[in-house]
Symmetry: C2
Subunit: 379 residues, 2 copies
């Protein structure tokens, strides 16, 4: 009887209480529709049923206007009253950066929300994938993405990182959580995973279904310039990220462990990233095995394929090594990651290798990789 | 002795523990410097000691390039190799939206971070105010800005709001907090206060100094379209926000009270906003005195100056009515708010009226207003 009373109370609460996140996704359309990445109320760009994109720009005085979808440039034509239009080839599903070239100046599309990528604020278009909803808002408890400011003594500057906390974080004040450090790619910043990557939806859905354990995800900017560093350090190759590595080890991880209810041992810490961030994650992770025991590289683990860096002792030391790549990525990227995988395989270093079918060097590859990687963590 | 032991432990912790937010602000420069609103690493736009702005854009094939500082358009000139440059008049301190016109097309500056304003992603430039730091990061405990998704049954769509929680929120699991609902202006969205408004710095600093009580601040998008609403409703005047009002009352407030540790009575709720959001706040606040007892309008309270809407009974019913305006705002805005203030004054309706010296219809007026308004709340 007592159980029935409790059940009745729970059902009552479910029916009457406002929820912290519930309900439904938009229907997938089979007619041309405005992209979800448009400024609210903007009709164009539109996505057609064959996944081609129709773009319109008002530029009455321009001589030449082009749609630059990064993989291909499409000249636009004036259709009426200063409005230029073009329809692209069909695009692969996923999130693609794009630009408009106005008389040779590459600018963002005034009709698009903008995303930090390619080293500037870029237009972006989300090409949906029919029937796929693992990165969409679903009727599950929702965690939060929190903006966390912290002072870097090393860089003598304020930094901002984003921190995903799982839905139950605030209501379980005694619980502690493992932490995934998740890096963006080159030309992107700490807003990449929250905005383009839809990290909160992916984690909310995985945790709600029991496919992943509840965890904290930290997304910091993957670069730093140490205070008083010589000029050459400020302009050095992006693949030399020793300054950022110092910030991660000496400042970021301690700050997160101080400010959040973390489990602060290596078995409860993972580091992963995409492209440049994948390279960083493998490099920082393997150099600091006292901190990390799970490492993931999405489209970017294979920069240092020298076999002697990957001894068989890793099989004992690490809980997981993971790498992935999209089948439609540029040949050099695909071949590089694949060769890295083959080398590890030949050496007998245990790892998980995933090829994302039909996706390029873009966010759908990385969303899929995160979904798979996160589900394997902290078991 | 016991006290000494505790003190020693606290001092020890202060010295050795990583902090959740500490230290220093950048020095104010007296030579031309790159704006803090630039994409990291971009030299231009630069702000000169007289607060004029020097802007550069690479556009080798363009025929005409202009800097549009919204209050004035400056033709740019080619200085070398396709680079165009201009230096503006001295600007008033604060945060200003701007655009670049390339052959007549208004686009964002590829060197600037972008901010949702003017109905699209706009370039923005922060003109610092010498010696003023109430909206800068300071060496105080830092709260968080959290992205909260919630489902709207009324609109049949997911919505996102941002929620500021004070620094101690996570470490005081039994405490409950009053809530300020803070609205953006026309052509802006829920990202306005977190990005342009620097709400977290302002609140962190006020709370740390004891000038404001610890509170939660909710920043939602100030518009909504009800599901299945007729077409005319979707295109109606922005000053008819009855659909959004329904969302606030029936969905947003209940969701916040369910998901955060709030004090959920009218004495613990405030609503305020800027420009259109100020008008909304006065209107929604006075229509729902069961929910709100503090109302603020920054540069936008005076849209409905009919005296009969403001009975003397408000003096008993409301804890605070607040309005403000910048002295450099367009004459119509200044005169409108001032007339509203005079009307209330003449009627004997108690309120606080503030003029922000030297600032226009922009974010510095609203940051100052928030600072003053927040300090008066929930006493």
């Amino acid at each position: 009887m007592k159980i029935h009373g409790i059940l009745a109370a729970i059902l009552f609460a479910l029916v009457l209480s406002p929820s912290c996140g519930s309900r439904k996704q938009a229907a997938y359309l089979t007619v041309p529709f405005s992209a979800s990445t448009n400024i609210p109320g903007k009709e164009y760009p539109k996505i057609n049923p064959d996944l081609s994109v129709t773009c319109r720009v008002e530029a009455p005085d321009a001589i030449s206007v082009e749609l630059d979808l990064c993989n291909k440039v499409y000249p636009m034509v004036q259709i009426e009253g200063g409005v230029w239009e073009v329809t692209s080839d069909p695009q692969v599903p996923g999130f693609h950066y794009y630009f408009i070239n106005v008389d040779g100046v590459r600018v963002s599309d005034p009709s698009s929300k903008l995303f930090y990528g390619c080293g500037l604020m870029a237009s972006g278009i989300e090409i949906p994938e029919a029937g796929v909803d693992f990165y969409l808002e679903q009727d599950v408890p929702h965690g939060e993405v929190r903006m966390q400011r912290y002072w870097s003594d090393l860089a003598q500057t304020w930094r901002i990182c984003y921190v995903y906390t799982p839905a139950e974080y605030d209501t379980t004040p005694d619980a502690r959580y493992p932490v995934l450090y998740l890096q963006h790619g080159g030309g992107e910043d700490e807003t990449g995973w929250p905005n383009q990557g839809k990290v909160d939806n992916i984690m909310d859905n995985l945790i709600a279904s029991g496919e992943a354990v509840s965890m904290i995800v930290v997304m910091d900017r993957g670069s730093a310039v140490l205070a008083n560093s010589p000029d050459w350090e400020r302009t050095r190759n992006i693949f030399d990220f020793s300054a950022y590595e110092k910030v991660v080890v000496e400042e970021l991880v301690p700050m997160i462990d101080a400010c959040y209810r973390t489990l602060d041992d290596r078995n409860s810490r993972a580091i992963a990233g995409l492209s440049l961030g994948g390279y960083q994650s493998w490099s920082i992770g393997l150099s600091h095995m006292d901190l990390f025991s799970y490492i993931g590289g999405f489209s970017g683990a294979g920069m240092e394929p020298s076999p002697e860096k990957y001894p068989l002792s890793l099989n004992e030391q690490m809980n997981l090594l993971y790498l992935s790549v999209g089948t439609e990525e540029p040949e050099q990227m695909y071949a590089g990651v694949k060769a890295f995988h083959d080398m590890l395989e030949n050496k007998g270093v245990q790892h998980l290798y995933y090829e994302s079918p039909g996706t390029a060097h873009e966010w759908l590859t990385w969303r899929r990789s995160l979904r798979q990687f996160a589900a394997l963590l902290f078991r």
